[in-house]
């Protein structure tokens, strides 16, 4: 069965939608409600037998690359360019179809934000590479 990575972003992606005020401008109750919703999504996916993984990422990070022979790795601390997209976290799901992955993504996007209204956040849906089928001819 295909797997899909549903990516949430701190920034980047298509034009932000109307209710996309950053979390720093929400009330404490709004933040609590938002987090409760995320947990509920995880529970729903588990109960349906579709859950593989869910993680949240710190916005802080470093870029690291090979420094060349006998050189230390090159490490670049943030902040990264504002234009760069920044991944906030993901749900990894194992589902019957791409249509179902889209359905889950749309639900994740309906998470409550300011005023308890859906945040209409863009969710990036990426297919995970699988195995080659046994019958190909």
């Amino acid at each position: 069965m295909p797997k899909y990575l549903l990516l949430k972003h701190y920034r980047g992606g298509p034009e932000p939608t109307p209710n996309f005020a950053p979390m720093s401008e929400w009330t404490e109750d709004e933040v609590t409600a938002h987090i409760a919703f995320q947990r509920e999504v995880g529970r729903m996916l588990s109960a349906r037998g579709e859950f593989v993984d869910a993680q949240a990422l710190s916005p802080e990070g470093t870029y690291v690359r090979y420094g060349g022979p006998d050189a230390a790795p090159v490490v670049t601390d943030g902040p990264f360019p504002e234009a760069k997209e920044l991944i906030a976290g993901w749900f990894l799901v194992d589902v019957d179809s791409e249509a179902r992955a889209h359905e889950i993504a749309a639900h994740v996007s309906s998470a409550p934000g300011q005023g308890g209204q859906p945040i209409y956040e863009w969710i990036e849906v990426r297919p995970v590479m699988g195995n080659a089928p046994a019958v190909t001819e």
Binding site: M129, G130, N131, P133, A134, V135
Partner: protein
């Protein structure tokens, strides 16, 4: 006097079983039972090949343990089965269970999981590993599937085609983890074929066996896909090929053709060719004509284009792919087939472009890597 020998043989046999892939705990139990039996049996005389004797007995104990495990799981799953079906004939157990596990109310993923658990006798952990999901997720998928099935009526005659589709899906998953799902699908289809006298059941079994026969040649030592025309045919399993052809011929003689019989016939023609040049493409094309007429499946039409390319030349093959764009939108195989045909026609640059597009659209790493290598091969040849 036998004790010393058994003390030496015990670990050797255990190691042999573990090397064969047997779970350590189960192998240990089996060897212990084998040793007990040896103590009694050897008192009257030691066998000629004591290690072979012990290995055979331990292997039998393992099989017994596996059977009783499987039977226990089937009993657990039988609660909901017997409520609707009432007393059942022992011989029809597999068929009945398959009809339940492949109920149309279930999604394909749920039907696959339930079938492997309830009919295949695999543990939830094994199925979870095979599909690379957490065990808890697989447990939920299976219990949800059981609840769905429990609410369904089994008074209507079940549809064998739905069962075959699920078995085909399991086979096509191939080797995902520690569990050989292709072999498991063959085992289940074999059981079904004993109980269900439908030509399409035999057709699917033949199709699986004829593809499985090429398993060893399909993947190289680096884990990369080897296409049919590059496979070392001496590594194909001739016993399986002979069996597949036998099953297929019996099915075709019934003169009630279906898509699995036709696909098996195509696989058989490939398996029958000592080298790619000996392939009877004329006959393969005739079968594809029949398959496309029967199923109107665009993927079958695409495979037919490859056969047209072999029989009437690559340009004719390319023309046969016309009109498939809309129905196979974004499907990497359309580009892969066109790339192959363009290369045969000598259009190397166009072929490389199509291979690159196919690689980008592929949803499997093995295929993506193979297609990317074709791009590299063609572009290197151009330099």
């Amino acid at each position: 006097m036998n004790d010393g020998l058994l003390r030496v043989l015990g670990p050797q046999v255990l190691a042999a079983l573990v090397r064969r892939g047997t779970d350590f705990a189960a192998a240990e139990d089996a060897v212990q039972e084998g040793l007990l039996e040896a103590h009694q049996a050897w008192a009257e005389g030691r066998p000629d090949d004591p290690k072979g004797w012990l290995l055979t007995v331990a292997a039998r104990k393992l099989i017994d343990a596996h059977r009783s495990d499987a039977a226990r799981r089937r009993r657990e799953d039988a609660a909901f089965r017997e409520r609707e079906a009432g007393p059942t004939e022992q011989a029809d157990d597999t068929l009945l269970l398959l009809f339940m596990c492949c109920h149309p109310a279930l999604s394909p993923a749920s039907a696959v999981a339930l079938t492997l658990r309830a009919v295949g006798g695999l543990t939830t952990k094994e199925i979870a590993d095979a599909f690379l999901v957490p065990e808890a997720t697989m447990a939920q998928r299976i219990s949800r599937a059981k609840r769905t099935v429990a609410g369904q009526s089994f008074t209507q005659p079940a549809d064998v085609a739905v069962v075959l589709r699920v078995l085909y899906l399991i086979f096509n998953e191939g080797y995902t983890g520690r569990i050989d799902l292709a072999a498991e699908a063959i085992r289940l289809t074999r059981q079904l074929a004993i109980e269900c006298d439908e030509p399409e059941v035999a057709g699917l079994l033949a199709l699986m066996v004829l593809h499985h026969a090429r398993g060893a040649a399909r993947i190289d030592e680096h884990g990369a896909l080897v296409p049919l025309d590059r496979q070392d045919r001496s590594r194909w399993d001739t016993t399986e090929i002979a069996e597949g052809i036998r099953i297929l011929q019996t099915a075709l003689a019934r003169d009630r053709r279906g898509e699995y019989q036709i696909q098996a016939a195509i696989a058989a023609l490939h398996d029958d060719a000592p080298s790619p040049d000996d392939t009877d493409w004329q006959q393969i094309l005739a079968w594809y004509d029949e398959l496309v007429a029967l199923t109107d499946n665009p993927v079958a039409a695409l495979s037919r284009a490859v056969a047209v390319g072999e029989v009437d030349g690559p340009l004719a093959g390319l023309r046969a792919t016309d009109g498939l764009d809309v129905r196979l939108l974004g499907h990497h195989r359309l580009d892969a087939v066109r790339a192959h045909l363009h290369e045969k026609a000598g259009h190397l640059d166009t072929a490389a472009e199509h291979y690159a597009r196919a690689a980008a659209a592929s949803r499997s790493t093995a295929e993506r890597d193979h297609l990317a290598k074709q791009v590299a091969r063609l572009r290197t040849a151009r330099r």
